[in-house]
Amino acid sequence: MENSEEYSFTINLFGKVFYEGNFSELRKQKAIWKVFGVDYEAEKQKQQEIWDTFKIKAPRSAFKHRLMLKQYLKVLIPPSKRREYEEFRRAVYWHLRHRPDFARRVDVKLIDRLARIWALWLLIEEKLSLGPDDQISKLTDAFYKIDAMLSKALEELEITPKMRKKIAEDLKEDDKITEQLKRLIGAK
């Protein structure tokens, strides 16, 4: 069936109100949220906290950078996704640092997506190490992106159960090696 164009009063009105910026979106949403039991003040506070976390002046040492990164992600990533996110992040590190060939064999698309995520991580860490205040707001945006990308990657790459099992085994192996190394150098 072929569609043809028609003038619509509704679309014209929505265009004028939304697109031309003449809208009271917040007033309407507050009234709706009140009826449906959404706590607007809590939502606002959540956004403020995310922002405040990022306004903290970036620390100088690499260790503190990572700590800050972790704190920020804790606020940003929803609790339901956090464990999966951490697992995936560790897998990204492992495969891109040590096992690119393995990932390539399993899924050609995977290595491309992981490489881009990895590049972004490096970029964020580099910016954090520089630490000037004016970079901080840019980093907020970078984290929104990485959050969306990781969720998308988790959903869309369709990591097979076999692949997940293999990653888990590799990570266990990685932990064992780390423990052995720690014992060798006498670290706790």
Binding site: N3, I11, L26, V35, K44, Y144, M149
Partner: protein
């Protein structure tokens, strides 16, 4: 079928309104495929749950609705995100359902079209509805709004409020929310999905006069 076009999408390009219900989109079909249920009513509830849990209403750090027209796009890692928007640039471009599903943020129209699309992929009678929100007692106009309307197994039509996150909202019978039995009233004036478009021209003309000050 005669349908209107929309030219205030993300980059200002022009689309038919029915294009906003993307029943053939592979990304959305994949999401719909993962939602499994025994009957129509359960499918509706699960889709409502999915939208509530996975989409956020885009507020900036000051708690103000954010504007997708000012979103920045980075093609090299397919990321789109919402930035803080100065007041003079607060134009809102409508997102397609697959864009909403990707960035996981969207205002009423964006999340309503995503919800309608998922329901239509599951072959459930559903429409995105455009209308106004009023205070029931004072009849004060609060703003323009979009929501999803779906038909349950027993033929009852329900309103799905898609801007409520992360806990799924209760389904409300159209007879309740359209007829002033709640503190706010939804007054619909246009319905559409991928194959239908219908509007109440007289009603929208009244609102146009009231909002834009025309006779």
């Amino acid at each position: 079928m005669k349908v209107p076009t929309v030219n205030f999408s993300l980059f200002g390009e022009e689309w038919l309104i029915t294009d906003y219900i993307q029943v053939s989109n592979p990304q959305l079909r994949r999401i719909a495929k993962k939602i499994k249920a025994k009957n129509r009513d359960e499918v509706i509830l699960k889709i409502v749950e999915w939208v509530a849990e996975n989409i956020e209403y885009p507020l900036d750090y000051r708690g103000r609705p954010n504007a997708a027209q000012y979103a920045k796009k980075f093609k090299w890692f397919d990321g789109v995100y919402l930035a803080e928007t100065p007041d003079e640039l607060r134009r809102y471009g409508w997102l397609f359902p697959n864009q909403t599903a990707t960035i996981r943020k969207g205002i009423c129209f964006d999340s309503a079209c995503l919800c309608t699309t998922l329901l239509r992929i599951k072959r459930i009678p559903a429409w995105t509805v455009l209308g106004a929100v009023l205070r029931t007692k004072s009849k004060r106009f609060l703003g323009l709004h979009a929501w999803t309307e779906a038909k349950m197994e027993n033929g009852t039509r329900v309103v799905i409020e898609t801007t409520v996150h992360p806990h799924p909202p209760e389904l409300i019978k159209t007879s309740q929310i359209y007829n002033g039995r709640l503190p706010i009233t939804y007054d619909p004036f246009a319905w559409f999905n991928e194959s239908e478009w219908k509007e109440d021209k007289e009603k929208v003309a009244l609102y146009e006069g009231m909002i834009l000050g025309k006779q």
